[in-house]
Symmetry: C3
Subunit: 127 residues, 3 copies
Amino acid sequence: MLRRITPTTIHPPFANYCHATLVQSTARWLYVSGQLGIRPDGVIPEDFEQQAEACFDNIARILAEAGMRTADLVRLNAYLTDPADLATYMMVRDRHVGDPPPASTLLVVQALARPQFRIEIEATAAA
Amino acid sequence: MLRRITPTTIHPPFANYCHATLVQSTARWLYVSGQLGIRPDGVIPEDFEQQAEACFDNIARILAEAGMRTADLVRLNAYLTDPADLATYMMVRDRHVGDPPPASTLLVVQALARPQFRIEIEATAAA
Amino acid sequence: MLRRITPTTIHPPFANYCHATLVQSTARWLYVSGQLGIRPDGVIPEDFEQQAEACFDNIARILAEAGMRTADLVRLNAYLTDPADLATYMMVRDRHVGDPPPASTLLVVQALARPQFRIEIEATAAA
């Protein structure tokens, strides 16, 4: 249902993402809210890496609830608040995305919905 | 056509949004440009709350032109320029989104297309 | 397959974009990663305008690889790091988008994946 597009006519991706995902018209879609680094019990870890892990855990559980899985991710949009966390984010992403990985957008923004949050990850999936 | 997904395996949403929206393959889609706080006559209110109201009014009129309505919103992506406006944004959103509400992403960014704009809201709908 | 929606009940777009794009259910979709200003040989121009041109060139090549073209763009999301570059971005966009143009979201963010990047453009297309 998903085809990853990474043309050889442009520079390869810098990290673990594909340049684009092509989705057939028969797919159903899952639009996931920007997920924050909060665990099921309400704990918000101070550590960036643990927040990023919690975001991916949340996305995995939402996908499961909709009968989908990580391989169905079309695009991940990640929003960090500190450029110093970029390398750690990419490391955590590597642990969670499939092979081939989804398309990706990665931005550093001024702030998120509450000051303690250091990352928000939005996902779009189709299957 | 839309099913709101809010799994009990993760922390509930902090505010008036669902964790994800599932859309069937038979839907047609409306991708709305980031809407700014400008009224039909070109007036851009200085007040944040009035700008946010104008964004939602614009979205409602675009939905109507496409034969859709607020209940068809799949995801709202809101971009503010000042974290001090977050609570007001959530209050305005409560007045405009349906029940159940759409998925959501909320970011504070450095600036928008012109300095007088304090909020931009992008919408995706399906019906 | 695409219909551009620009209602007369709201203020017209400020620049070269439509207020919304309506997509039929029979379309297949292309979700493009945020493209950066890097040329096929790996050169990252210092100049903002050349980076923006490289982003659009990359998008055009990805569309071509998927059997699509610029007219199939549903929405462009552009992320700049300096508000001083907004006018140049809009000039470059005018050279590349079709008529009628796609929907658009335009934000100024704190930073991108590497300090030398000054613009990232994410695209969604359907045909």
